[in-house]
Symmetry: C2
Subunit: 144 residues, 2 copies
């Protein structure tokens, strides 16, 4: 469904958010360890999220990643997915036609669109804060 990069990106964002509530910056190393992801690959994804202004990065000693704590509740899952995987999951045709077009639909258009729209709605209505709180309260987990 999502690429590995996107999975790592979502998990990393949740972990960064969690720490940002306590005004703690987290290092790449700590993130990769927490979400069980390859360090160098995760670095690329974090750079990408930083370029999209979803997270902030600070270089040098005591550097690391953080998110404005007052922005966490307004960051939607869709922003992260969109930054990493693009918008084909929201807009693309389920059977790979060049565009998903009501006027020229593929055979699964109506049925697929319903599912795709529900996914879109889910991603657009879920924010980082609620996900972070589920980790904090221990009802959800970031790794096996």
């Amino acid at each position: 469904m999502f690429s590995k990069a996107c999975e790592y990106g979502i998990k990393a964002s949740i972990f960064i958010a969690l720490n940002s509530y306590e005004n703690k910056r987290v290092s790449l190393k700590a993130i990769a360890k927490e979400i069980n992801s390859p360090e160098a690959f995760t670095a690329k994804i974090l750079q990408d999220l930083a370029r999209h202004n979803i997270i902030n990065s600070t270089k040098g000693a005591h550097g690391g990643f953080e998110i404005d704590k007052y922005a966490i509740s307004s960051i939607k899952l869709s922003q992260i997915v969109n930054a990493i995987d693009g918008d084909s999951i929201y807009k693309g045709c389920g059977l790979g036609l060049h565009t998903c077009d009501e006027e020229h639909p593929c055979p699964v258009h109506d049925k697929f669109k319903a599912v795709r729209d529900e996914l879109k709605h889910m991603l657009e209505s879920t924010n980082l804060e609620e996900l972070a709180l589920d980790i904090k309260s221990g009802v959800a987990f970031l790794k096996t």
Copy 2:
């Protein structure tokens, strides 16, 4: 959402079904042309579908692919997707945890599962016949 292989497999199956209603076998070449897919790659996918007994293939002159016309309405989209892409789309964790487990959920588990289950239901309740009829009646298309 689906792999290219799966997209081609679904489209090819629909086209084969359409022709099978008229007792016509279709060749790889005709299929690839109709669904706008690379011939040799499509051949691999058709072999796969044949091994899964979703379509029948006949070698030699006048050979080609067909589907038992009385079975078309009982072939579900889920069978095709499952044969080509496997079952991770139904069962896998949205954030890539080793298994999707209610007892050890990832942060998006509840929300993701709802979407995944709707997709599953859609695929399991859609059969080849209805898709083929939409092509026949001209309300849907197999290529751009």
